[in-house]
Every structure is written in structure tokens, then in C-alpha cells.
């Protein structure tokens, strides 16, 4: 019997590919944003509004992860940008190798690459994709108890968007409590309160994206 000391990260392969993606994005001066949330929180609507607002100024592409269907990529592509669908056939998250394959099909003459992860507040948090930032979306009808229940997800967030603010009062969503819990768990995260469907409150988030596009451009 032999004992072998390994000291190896289990997701090292994923991280290696993610680092290659990060280098590719940096080399082409593309700001990469990974958008994560539970299903139905409004990721696709948020991305639609973001693309609508920023496409006059910036070249944008999107990668959409879903268990099945082409629906999300079709919605994004309808806005006139390049959108690639990844069907994970049952896998609950995107990993870096899926993103790398999708990137082969995208022109890298871009300012912004948005990755819409699979709707799930658990699994995607464990897989680094090589993007510069993580945006986590939480919507008011999901309830105001999600932050403490999914600490890993809120811990990896650079920004947290609280969506569907227009109906917060009808679903007894305690905004202050949620904001405090986000700040406790991740004091460095920036919080934006929005209603993506109504296109309300998005300006600060769009400004944050623009700042990051410029940072990556000028690095």
C-alpha cells in the first residue's frame, strides 16, 4: 500500500481552461460578465435590456446556457447581436470547457461578452468561467430568504441585482433585510435595485458595465 500526497484542486482542469478564456478575453480587450440566478429571476430580460441600451455604443455577444431549447439565445439574437446557445443536456451549470467551445463560434471583435448561466443558485457558483465579473440576480417573488440559503453564490458575486422591485410590496419582500444580508455576506458586492421588465433602475448597472468595459479596454 502506498500513500501519495496530492494537494490538487479538484476543479483544476476547469480553472485551467477558465484561465485560458480569461487570457483570450484580456488579449482581445473584451469585458466578460457571468450572469447567474435561479430560474425565472429575469436573466434573459435583464440581458435584453442591457443589450438594447448598450448596443449603439458597444459590440456585444452572448452565450446562453440552458438545459434545453434555443429560446434564450433566440431572444437575445433577435436584438441583432451574436448569441450562442449551449444546451447542457441535464447539467445544472456551465463549465469552462463548454464556454471555450462556444467561443470558437463567436467573432472576438467585441467589447462585451455576456454569459447567461443555467438558472440555478447553487451549482454555477463552483465553476469559474474566466469572466472578469459575476452578476447575481435575485427576484422579489422568490422570497427574501435566499441570501443566507445560498451563501456560496452571494459570496462570489461582484454585483447583486434585486429584480422585480415593482412587485416587491405585493410579495412581502423585505428589501432592507435582503440588502443587509448581502452586505453581511459580501460587503464588497455592489447592489442594484431594478425592474428589468419595466426597464426601471438599470442606469447604475449599465454605468457599472461601461466602467468595466473601459477598464478592460485600457488595461
Amino acid at each position: 500500500m502506498k500513500r501519495i500526497v496530492v494537494e490538487k484542486k479538484i476543479l483544476e482542469k476547469n480553472d485551467d481552461i477558465a484561465n485560458q478564456i480569461k487570457n483570450l478575453l484580456d488579449k482581445n480587450r473584451i469585458f466578460g460578465l457571468n450572469v447567474m440566478s435561479s430560474p425565472g429571476a429575469g436573466k434573459t430580460t435583464l440581458i435584453e435590456q442591457t443589450v438594447e441600451a448598450l448596443k449603439p455604443q458597444y459590440k456585444i455577444a452572448a452565450i446562453d446556457g440552458d438545459l434545453d431549447t434555443q429560446r434564450d439565445a433566440q431572444r437575445i439574437a433577435a436584438l441583432g447581436i451574436e448569441a450562442i446557445q449551449i444546451n447542457t443536456s441535464g447539467t445544472c451549470h456551465l463549465d469552462s470547457s463548454m464556454v471555450q467551445k462556444a467561443l470558437d463560434h463567436i467573432s472576438l471583435d467585441l467589447d462585451l461578452l455576456i454569459i447567461e448561466n443555467v438558472g440555478n443558485l447553487v451549482c454555477p457558483a463552483s465553476f469559474y468561467l474566466g469572466t472578469h465579473k459575476n452578476a447575481v440576480l435575485i427576484s422579489t417573488p422568490e422570497g427574501d430568504d435566499k441570501v443566507k440559503k445560498y451563501p456560496t453564490m452571494f459570496n462570489v458575486a461582484d454585483v447583486v441585482l434585486i429584480n422585480k422591485m415593482d412587485i416587491a410590496k405585493f410579495v412581502n419582500f423585505d428589501v432592507k433585510k435582503v440588502e443587509n444580508e448581502i452586505k453581511e455576506l459580501n460587503p464588497n458586492a455592489t447592489i442594484f435595485k431594478i425592474s428589468a421588465l419595466k426597464n426601471e433602475g438599470l442606469r447604475p448597472f449599465l454605468d457599472w458595465i461601461q466602467t468595466n468595459i473601459n477598464l478592460v479596454k485600457n488595461q
Binding site: 501519495i4 479538484i10 451549482c123
Partner: protein, 116 residues
């Protein structure tokens, strides 16, 4: 249930270790799993047991899992805080009111392996 993918990564690494060290089989592997690694240990063990049935070189392998609590340091006063429960996570130094930096709790590693 991304623990299936994580368990598969563990098995892939175990296979590499077996080949690199000229082993015939792996009998145990020690893993470190952090409290905010996003991995549920029961689900990981369940997935590993399922893969074991298909991979003869790990058919008798056991996983020893070391749970790692979240530890975080204040960059101002250097005090270290440990959290036994993720429900209690507060990443702000009570003295300095500044964000804490996580130093443990995100681990997802293979520490060592036994085989013959």
C-alpha cells in the same frame, strides 16, 4: 446536483494518479471540502458511489472528507474569525467595520491518496 461533475473530476484525477504511480487500484482518497465551496458532501459521496460501480480501479475506494469551516481575516487589525456554521457568516470585522477576506472555506481539493 453538480456534485456528479465534481465526483467525475475526482475520479479522473485518481485515474491519473494511479497511472503516474504505477498502481493497480486506489483504496482511499482524502478530500478537503470547504463550507462555502458550494458542494454538498452527501451528494458528492452519493455520486462517487455511483461512479465506483463502473470503474474497477476504485471499486474498493473510500472517500475521507475533511470539512473546512470558513475562516476570514480582517486586513486592518489582522484578527481571524472562524464560523462553525454558514448561517452565521458575517464578513465584516466587528471592531474595524471593514470587509473580511476569506482565507479558508472555499477548498475543494484532493489531499492524499492510498493505493496498491
Amino acid at each position: 446536483m453538480h456534485e456528479g461533475a465534481i465526483a467525475q473530476s475526482v475520479v479522473d484525477i485518481l485515474r491519473d494518479i494511479k497511472d503516474q504511480n504505477g498502481l493497480l487500484s486506489i483504496t482511499s482518497a482524502t478530500l478537503k471540502v470547504g463550507a462555502v465551496s458550494g458542494v454538498m458532501i452527501d451528494a458528492l459521496e452519493f455520486a462517487f458511489e455511483a461512479i465506483k460501480k463502473e470503474e474497477s480501479f476504485i471499486k474498493d475506494a473510500t472517500l475521507n472528507i475533511i470539512n473546512v469551516n470558513v475562516k476570514a481575516r480582517c486586513n486592518i487589525c489582522n484578527k481571524i474569525y472562524e464560523f462553525d456554521n454558514t448561517d452565521d457568516l458575517i464578513m465584516i470585522c466587528p471592531d474595524c467595520q471593514m470587509p473580511l477576506t476569506i482565507i479558508n472555506g472555499k477548498e475543494l481539493e484532493i489531499v492524499d491518496v492510498e493505493g496498491g
